[in-house]
Each structure stands twice: as structure tokens, then as C-alpha cells.
Symmetry: C2
């Protein structure tokens, strides 16, 4: 068991990591501080709910929760909508969940983002607990307080910053994670190395096989390192302020979001889209002379070892024009200018205002249509 | 022209009050600080939009806004829903409104609450400006950062705290306010006196006729006094914390919200419901021995002078049981107990945990069914 702390003063919180974190004494004690004597609304998708909700609900009750309603929704990014959110509001209203209630997200990024946004906006904000069951949620979406839902026009356009009170990452939950979802999370793991810490990138090159084999020691170490990197960035720049470091966590995400949007959130897993996005961003950075050429092959090679895509498919919807149009709606965009997180070296990134649209177009064109 | 400041450090903001505040030099200068060089989304209901949106849009452009989209929705509390909110999100997405955009609410409480919640959640939060055109919005809902929408199960169940950057209260806008809407606002004006400041209550008893005649000097003085009282409470207790003073602004509101909910938000204007609610709360306080008897007749008399109701109508939907059930879902409720703002004297209130349900029932029964 390890604890990583997100240092945000009164809004700070611990991330408990380890096999059995949800049932051990330390986990229950931390949980008691948040849910003791309070009613919980436990939210999961149907897949994760069937696997882990009953056990986790028992843990919440063992930690002193005064009650625990459960609600579930269909698994997948297609559920991260205003419609599912409206259903959560209805469940909470009918259950009489008041301001003393606690929302608990059990699942991956979709569940955490949706439940977190519910918690941010139910009665103008109630506490919430993240219980990430996917690698992606463990290393990324459960930490930092970004919550929200998608619109047909784009991902995460609606949302709020709302920090959880506690993150419980029971690594035994990863045992039930499908292989594709493990790879999905590994894209975000690579992002921490490629975007923020060269030494961690080198560790990943060394540990790739052990990670894929789910070696428990390596998994715990890697997850904890990702959480530490993210916690430090969030502590420094909670609200992704102008000029702050938090925007750098979006390495690969502007290209990736466009890819997800244009394929209707169905063609790519989030991590797969981010993997392609990082390679596109690195290729653009090299083309613009911002970054040494070696970044592209090293990033591509590690992503390949993790079974992740690194090119745009030959989908007629993915024209450079279509990609550029969606990228122009990205949240980092300010008054029309394209702003992208681009690498300046392996393990270093910067938020760059890109005016050379022709270079972006050429990068997209070159990356397209080959296997 | 007067300026009342809400002292909230980095989230503080000025409230500009006076006839011509939206077009004068001081107003434009303050507006320029918020909208200069930025794109605006101007939200109004159709009634207010037809009267004032074109002029206000010109003011925004004169203050240097880089553009100003307009959108309108049908007037009335029935529009304060997730459905209207979803329409605003769609408008913003199609307009390409990014994080550098500013939302501008022109109208009454419904418009301000809805637009404020849109601003709180669009791309995880963008700045917004309140331009209240009703007395109710001027003295209450435009100040303090409470934003949100209603659910079928209750009012304001979904929302966020999100402070405006600026409130522009052009008192000339009140010239087009229908008589019934003026009275609607006067209920909240009475609340500041009856609930928080006895001297102000006495001023209102003295100035009632001038207020109803919309004497500009009296209107400006009264609106400014209400904003000062509210600003002081909000500065002390921005987020309505446990034990804080902000909850006291809800005097009359728990009974009032139940009344609005049970009549489908159609039978009572918000202020009318709050007027009845204050009398119910005062009657209950007297019954519980918390408050001198004179509070009920003095409150009732002033509300009557303003043409406001003070009793429950003989509506079969408004049984004590039905009222109690809805009141149990109020946001001030914690884990089942009823908590009500009750007067302890004229001009003084306290948040009281009420366990004597029979007394509440008797108060509701007595107030019912007579003219």
C-alpha cells in the first residue's frame, strides 16, 4: 500500500494505492473520514457494477456509511452525456440525497468524470470519492478534479473542477480489466514519460514487458509514479491557468479529441486516440523545428510495444480539414488561434500557439491512410 | 450612480446601480475590463430580449467586446430546466465560444440562474456578467454567485457557486417591469428587513408608497441597501457553510419552494411564494415560542401593502403532508432533519433544526383555505 497526496490545502486529498486498498484497515479508515454517517450514491457502469459494486458497497458500509444507493448505466463513452447526467439527478432526487450525501464513482474515466460532475452540481456541490478500476482512471482521470460530460459537438465541453475527497485505487480491480483497456491506460502512462519526465520514459522502455504481464510490483510502482507526477502538476496549477503546467497533461489530447469526435467516440478508445495524438504532436514539433527528430521514433516504438496505434486510419471522415475544424473548438483554443501541447524534447513539452496551419495540415496528411 | 462591492478577494466584483448604468461612462469602463476583446454570448428571455437586448448588445460592443451572439428562450420559471441549458450548450458549441468567451445574462432571476450555471460549466467555467432587469434579480439573484436549474422534483436542485465578474443594474430597465414583477421583487426586499435588519424594515414601512410609485430616488436607495446587506452576507459566507449567515437569506424560502413545487411553478411567482413562506415561518416561530408575536402582523401588513399574498390558498395539492414531504427535500435538510430559517425578532433570524413536526403541520393547517 502506498499513499500519494494531492497537496491542495483544504481541497487536498490522499490517493490510496495497492492490492486490497479498498478493504484493508488503512483504506477503511480513510474512507470512514469521508463517508462515516453519510448516505452514499454509488455510480458504476453495468460491466464494472456486476464485477465490483457489491463488494465495494460492503466496504462503504463497513466504513460507516449510513446507507448506499446503487445506480448503473450502460458502459462506454457514449454514456458520458447530459442524458445520463439527468438520470443521475433523477435517481438522487428520488432517493432524497441531500447535501450531506456523498457520490462515489466506481469505474473508469467515463464513470469518474460523470459522477464527479454530478457531485459538482448536485445541490451546488457535494463530496465525492473516486474508486478507479481501470488503469486509465487510476493514472489520470480520477486525480485532479476535472469532471464533465461530452456534447455531440465535442468531448468534455461541459464540466467543472471539483476535487474528490479521496481516491481509492485497489489494484486488484485491475485483474478484471480487459487487455484493450489496459493498453488504453498505458497510452496515458506513456504520456507522463514522453511529456513530462524523460527518466520515467526510460523506465517504461525497460519495464514494458513486465507492465504488459501485469507484474504487481511494477504496476504499483508505475501507477504511483504517474499519480505523483500528476499530483505535483495539479498542486501547482489546479485550474489549468494561462501559462500554467496543467495544460501540458493534454499532450496528444487536442489531436486525440478530434479523432474521437470525428469517429463518433466509437472508432478509438481514448488512450488509442491520445497515442496517435502524441505521435502527431511530436511529428508537428519536429516539422516546426521545435524538437529533435528522435522523439518521434522513440515515442512510436514504446507505443507499439504497448499495442497502441500511432497513425491516422484511412477513414474518409478524417480529412485534415475536418480534423482542423474540430481542433479549433478545443478548450485550449483562445479566440480563434490553435494552441497545442508540443514536445520540445523527450520528457518535455510546452503549450505553443501554432499559426502555421499548413504545417499542421501537412502533418495530418502524412500520417494518414497508411497502415 | 452607486457602486456596491462584493468583497471576495480575487472573486470580488462591483455592482453598478443607477439609471443609465449600462450606457454611462463608468458602466462602459467597468464593462470593458470584463468583455474587452472577448466574444460574448448574450442570453435573455424573449420578453426582455425584445425590450432591451439590442441596446445592451450595443453597449457590450461599445465596451470593446469582440463580438456578441444573442440567444433567447421562452420567458418564465418553466424555462429554468436542463433542457434549456442543453440548448445554451448547443448554441455555444455552434458559435465556437471558447474559454476566452463571456456569458452575459440580461433579465430576471431565471435568466441569471440559468446563464450563470451555463457559465459555471461551459468548458469548466467562463466569466459572466449579470445585467438584472427585474427588481428581484437586482436585489437578490444577480448577486452572490448562486446559479442553477430546477428539476421536476424541486427547485435549484442542480447548480454551482459561480460569481459574476460584474453586475450592471440599470434602474431604467425597471421602467418596463410589469406591476406583478415589481411586487415579486418587493417580497425579497421585505426579506432583507424582516430577516436581517429591523431599521431597514422600518424604512420600508415608511417608504412603501414611494416604492410602489417607483420613485427613482427611493428605488435606488432601497436597491442599494439590499445589495449592501446581501454583499456583506456573501462576503462572510460565500458558500453557505454550516453555521454561516448565508443560509439566513433563505428566510421564507423552504416553505416558499415547497409551494412553488406543488403548484408546478405556475401558481405563484417566486416572490409571492416567499411572502407566504415568511409569514408561515414567522407563525411557526411564534408557535414554537422562538419569537415575539408582533413579528407576524407587522410582516403581514407590509407584505399586504405591497400587494403580496400571506396565506396558503385552498388548493387541494397544498396539504400539510405534501408540503412537509417537499420541504424534506430542501437543500438545507441534512440526513432527514427539517432545518428552517425562523425569525427570533423583527430583523433577526436563525437556522433552526425543527423536530416538532406537529407544530409545522399545525402552522400549515391554520394558514390554509381562508382568503
Amino acid at each position: 500500500m502506498r499513499t500519494v497526496t494531492v497537496e491542495l490545502g483544504a481541497r487536498g486529498y490522499p490517493i490510496l494505492l495497492g492490492r486490497g486498498a479498498s478493504t484493508g484497515a488503512a483504506g477503511l479508515a480513510a474512507l470512514r473520514d469521508v463517508v462515516g454517517g453519510r448516505r452514499c450514491l454509488l455510480v458504476a457502469d453495468r460491466t464494472v457494477g456486476a464485477l465490483h459494486a457489491a463488494g465495494w458497497r460492503q466496504a462503504l458500509l463497513a466504513a460507516g456509511a449510513a446507507g448506499c444507493e446503487r445506480t448503473e448505466f450502460p458502459a462506454g463513452e457514449g454514456s458520458k452525456t447530459l442524458a445520463t447526467l439527468a438520470e443521475l439527478y433523477g435517481v438522487a432526487a428520488r432517493a432524497g440525497l441531500d447535501r450531506s450525501g456523498v457520490a462515489v464513482a466506481l469505474g473508469g474515466g467515463v464513470t469518474g468524470d460523470l459522477t464527479g460532475f454530478f457531485a459538482a452540481t448536485w445541490m451546488r456541490g457535494i463530496p465525492f470519492v473516486q474508486a478507479p478500476t481501470s488503469l486509465l482512471a487510476l493514472v489520470d482521470s480520477s486525480v485532479g478534479g476535472k469532471t464533465g460530460v461530452d456534447l455531440p459537438e465535442g468531448k468534455n465541453l461541459v464540466g467543472a473542477f471539483h476535487q474528490p475527497r479521496l481516491v481509492v485505487g485497489d489494484l486488484a480491480w485491475l485483474d478484471t480489466l480487459p487487455e484493450g483497456e489496459l493498453r488504453n491506460g498505458l497510452a496515458e502512462v506513456v504520456k507522463y514519460g514522453a511529456g513530462l519526465e524523460a527518466a520515467f520514459f526510460a523506465d517504461l522502455e525497460r519495464d514494458a514487458a513486465a507492465l504488459l504481464a501485469r507484474d504487481p510490483v511494477v504496476v504499483e510502482r508505475v501507477v504511483a509514479r504517474c499519480c505523483e507526477i500528476k499530483a505535483a502538476v495539479v498542486a501547482e496549477d489546479e485550474r489549468e491557468c494561462e501559462g500554467g503546467r496543467r495544460a501540458l497533461l493534454n499532450y496528444g489530447h487536442t489531436f486525440g479529441h478530434a479523432l474521437e469526435t470525428l469517429t463518433g467516440y466509437a472508432g478509438f478508445r481514448h488512450g488509442e486516440a491520445v497515442a496517435v495524438g502524441m505521435v502527431l504532436a511530436a511529428s508537428l514539433a519536429v516539422r516546426l523545428g521545435l524538437c529533435p527528430a528522435e522523439v518521434v521514433p522513440r515515442t512510436t516504438a514504446l507505443l507499439h510495444r504497448f499495442g497502441l496505434p500511432t497513425r491516422l486510419p484511412a477513414d474518409p471522415a478524417l480529412t485534415p480539414d475536418a480534423m482542423l475544424e474540430v481542433m479549433g473548438r478545443d478548450k485550449k483554443t483562445r479566440a480563434g488561434g490553435l494552441r497545442l501541447v508540443l514536445p520540445t524534447a523527450l520528457g518535455a513539452t510546452a503549450l505553443v500557439a501554432v499559426t502555421d496551419v499548413a504545417a499542421v495540415r501537412a502533418t495530418l496528411e502524412v500520417a494518414r491512410g497508411k497502415p
